[in-house]
Symmetry: C2
Subunit: 119 residues, 2 copies
């Protein structure tokens, strides 16, 4: 399942099916789920979950990063940009909230849609 490796960001099982269909027509959704579960158990892929979105999967071992979701085409990308939230890791906020982790998703317009809108 190296379809995942080529993607610019995490994919839903349905998106994986659609993309993989180009290489391997008549692929079943069940097989996608089966392989995802197997790969996730072996640690080869990890699942990510964004607000208002179905679960997505991406290949593991890409380090700390966050995701960007395009408001127009609804695609999700991985971001390598520095994380402004890292400063909060391990600190205890006023009120007694002890921060141990965080999830950040940025929203906006992706390069593809910006180019399309400009044309």
């Amino acid at each position: 399942m190296h379809t995942l490796e080529e993607a610019p960001g995490p994919l839903t099982p349905q998106e994986i099916l659609d993309r993989a269909a180009a290489l391997h027509a008549s692929l079943g959704l069940a097989t996608v789920y089966r392989n995802l579960n197997t790969l996730e158990a072996s640690g080869a892929v990890v699942s990510v979950h964004l607000p208002n979105e179905a679960r997505r999967y991406e290949v593991a071992g890409r380090g700390h990063h966050h995701h960007f979701r395009c408001d127009l085409c609804e695609a999700v990308y991985e971001l390598d940009a520095s994380c402004p939230v890292a400063v909060l890791e391990g600190v205890t906020l006023p009120g007694g909230y002890e921060v141990r982790g965080h999830a950040l998703t940025l929203y906006g317009v992706c390069p593809v849609c910006r180019a399309g809108a400009r044309a």
Copy 2:
């Protein structure tokens, strides 16, 4: 539905039902959903969606804030702390990602659980 106003953070419809049951026994889940949809349409409440969580609702007009989810008791709180992601608003990241909004959720241990663990 001022049950929402008393809560320290957004509630799921089921939580609303449970809390409201104390005041108004024999309240139906259907009524909760109906009122939530009505209130959301009128702008009195907004829905928030956290990763790996069911949809939650909170009263509108509380300004920019984020949420904190306790790893232990799974409760969700509102945070008033300053937002370290605001600096990214409106900027275009390397790669051409134009940021227009963001969602940040912090994870950790809430004051209640910290107190409980200490005891």
